[in-house]
């Protein structure tokens, strides 16, 4: 297609219309009300969706006006969303980053525009003004320590990674490896990615059962979705009783499975705590009050013994 004046004009017109409509959407703000932008990593994943819900709930509680967008796991999209926040002149941006490197430009843009940024739940290469989250390395440490304790420091372990290159994957892996280094009797048999996806973890575990049947005693999955996949594969092969499975996040299904005695354990990441922490920090920053540069919400290991407390949350 050649670019004729008619097409060019038409395109311009279309763009203009879209822009005008988009601008109209931003309702006028009441005086004294803070405007905060929140970009969620992926509202279709259970944990980040819960985190998003917690942010929304806390914003409502504290009377903050929230612009809520979903990056659908696309860092590129997240950068554009940050740019939109800047042009909407929000007071603070809360970012739930998609990726360590690729989401960094979003932080740089915001800082260049002198808008304070809070990272929630995971880190980026570029440093934000404030980080509210849980130390993912700690999650890896907690999970692998649980495995070491269960196996008495002796045995073979398999690890299922999240999407390679994401902050949670990198740090949970690092934490787990720190523990492994402490126990010479604990051997990492293999580690592969299943991209946070249940079906992929299921297939991966099926293949592992073929390759290493009887040779592994524990599986650490970087999230519960994948732990559930691994659990299904082991149950179907009749091997669950021989293998200890632990995930991270404490999603509802995983808690149910722990309660039912199917899943051994999960590491609770406090979505509500993170969400509240992020919004509270945003208000402090917006009103120019002193704030903590790092707010750490601790992880907790959930087992059958303490699961009831978490099921209520």
């Amino acid at each position: 297609m050649r670019l004729t004046p008619r097409i060019a004009l038409g395109t311009l017109g279309l763009v203009a219309t879209v822009l005008v409509t988009a601008c109209k959407k931003a309702e006028p703000r009441k005086p004294g009300e803070w405007l905060v932008g929140y970009s969620s990593r992926d509202q279709s994943a259970e944990y980040t969706a819960r985190l998003g819900d917690a942010v929304q709930a806390r914003a409502k509680e504290r009377g903050v006006k929230l612009v809520f967008v979903d990056a659908q796991a696309d860092a590129q999209k997240q950068i554009s969303q940050a740019e939109n926040f800047i042009s909407q002149k929000v007071d603070v941006i809360i970012l739930n980053p998609c990726e360590v490197e690729a989401s960094s430009p979003a932080i740089d843009r915001a800082r260049a525009a002198k808008i304070p940024v809070i990272n929630v739940n995971s880190l980026t290469k570029a440093a934000p003004d404030c980080y509210v989250g849980s130390d993912d390395e700690q999650a890896g440490i907690l999970a692998m320590e649980a495995i070491a304790k269960k196996l008495g420091g002796q045995g073979n372990v398999l690890m299922i990674h999240g999407i390679m290159g994401q902050s949670a994957q990198i740090h949970r892996d690092a934490g787990a490896r720190k523990v492994l280094a402490k126990y010479p009797g604990l051997k990492l048999l293999d580690a592969q990615t299943a991209s946070w996806d249940r079906a992929k973890a299921l297939a991966l575990t099926e293949n592992w059962i073929q390759a290493h049947k009887g040779k592994f005693q524990a599986i650490f999955a970087h999230n519960d979705e994948m732990a559930m996949g691994a659990l299904l594969a082991l149950e179907r092969a009749g091997l669950k009783k021989d293998v200890y499975v632990i995930g991270v996040d404490a999603i509802a299904q995983a808690l149910d499975a722990v309660k039912a005695g199917r899943l051994d354990a999960t590491v609770f990441q406090d979505a509500v705590g993170q969400g509240r922490g992020a919004v509270d920090a945003a208000i402090l920053m917006a009103s120019k009050q002193p704030f903590e540069k790092e707010v750490m919400i601790p992880f907790q290991v959930v087992t059958r013994e303490n699961v009831d407390a978490f099921l209520k949350k």
């Binding site: 990674h161 390679m164 990615t193 996806d197 079906a199 299921l202 293949n207 390759a211 299904l232």
Partner: protein
């Protein structure tokens, strides 16, 4: 003509020796380098894992044969799985209801694709790209963004085995067999090739082009629905974010199998070979404990290499 003779005369199969060679080569290598590949339980395992991609690939073969494309497979898998799971809570409905609803959802998405392509005259790429996002969105809306759990064991048992054979494999085999017979022996099947081979000429020869296309997209959707139900049974939940990029694996399998992206050439036998090749690569790389980074590279190289070998051999 006997079935055996038709099989031998199938031009596609004769042209597919390149793929068969690659398939045998890789299988041979895996059998030699691992203890576990060439065991009955691992082969069953591969069969179970390829079934979902297999069902999708057979479905999209119909669409590709008409010269179209369907990019909405992965999203429709998720949507059908979610719908199926919503109707599958224990004690609520008979087993056929969730299965039927899953199939219906997929079929309707496919038909809508078909209507927009034929009546709307919009390019299949655009129509199905739209469906890809719409179906994903609907899956998220219906599930509230969270996996739909608590499925009746009657349904999740469908991911299990009958004797030594996984039920998903039986579904795949049945779908492939029926499709193969259909494409080779039925008028509508023949018409599919005609439409893909030269659409204006097919119309001039009295073929109802809209009917043929509507059928192709509808059937592809129905099979996508089936894949969604099988996936939900396999992972025991309806996952709104399941099936990401499944369309790419399915289309890759079809193209590896010799079906032309411009339509009119190819068939189900080739698609089965393509599905097996992709399945065996995935399984073998896990068995060999190849790092995730290298897996992606190796898989891509093998796929392109296999197609290159095959086309080179078909030309000579």
């Amino acid at each position: 003509m006997t079935l055996a003779r038709r099989f031998i005369l199938d031009r596609n199969l004769v042209h597919r020796f390149g793929i068969v060679a690659v398939l045998l080569l890789i299988s041979g290598l895996l059998a030699a380098t691992t203890d576990s590949f060439a065991t009955a339980s691992n082969l069953t395992n591969v069969a179970r894992q390829v079934s979902i991609n297999g069902i999708l690939a057979v479905g999209v073969t119909f669409v590709l044969l008409t010269g179209g494309v369907d990019l909405s497979l992965g999203s429709v898998v998720a949507l059908s799985g979610v719908v199926c799971a919503l109707f599958a809570h224990p004690g609520e409905h008979a087993l056929l209801v969730p299965i039927g609803m899953g199939l219906l959802t997929g079929g309707l998405c496919g038909l809508l694709n078909g209507v927009l392509v034929t009546r709307g005259g919009i390019a299949p790429f655009i129509v199905t790209l739209g469906m890809m996002t719409v179906a994903r969105g609907l899956a998220l809306i219906l599930s509230g963004g969270k996996p739909v759990a608590d499925m009746t064991p009657a349904l999740t048992d469908l991911a299990g085995d009958v004797g030594p054979l996984p039920i998903p494999l039986l579904c795949f085999a049945l779908v492939a067999l029926v499709s193969w017979v259909f494409l080779g022996r039925f008028r509508l099947g023949r018409h599919l090739y005609a439409v893909g081979g030269n659409e204006p000429a097919a119309r001039a020869a009295g073929v109802s082009v809209p009917k043929v296309k509507l059928f192709a997209y509808g059937l592809c959707g129905l099979l996508t629905g089936l894949a969604g139900v099988v996936l939900a049974a396999r992972i025991t939940t309806g996952q709104p974010n399941a099936g990401q990029a499944y369309e790419l694996d399915a289309i890759a399998a079809v193209v590896i199998g010799g079906t032309s992206l411009s339509g009119g050439v190819g068939g189900v036998l080739g698609t089965i070979l393509g599905v097996l090749l992709i399945g065996i690569i995935n399984n073998g790389l896990d068995l060999l404990s190849v790092s995730s980074y290298y897996q992606a590279v190796i898989k891509g190289v093998i796929i392109v290499g296999a197609v290159w070998l095959d086309r080179r051999q078909a030309r000579s």
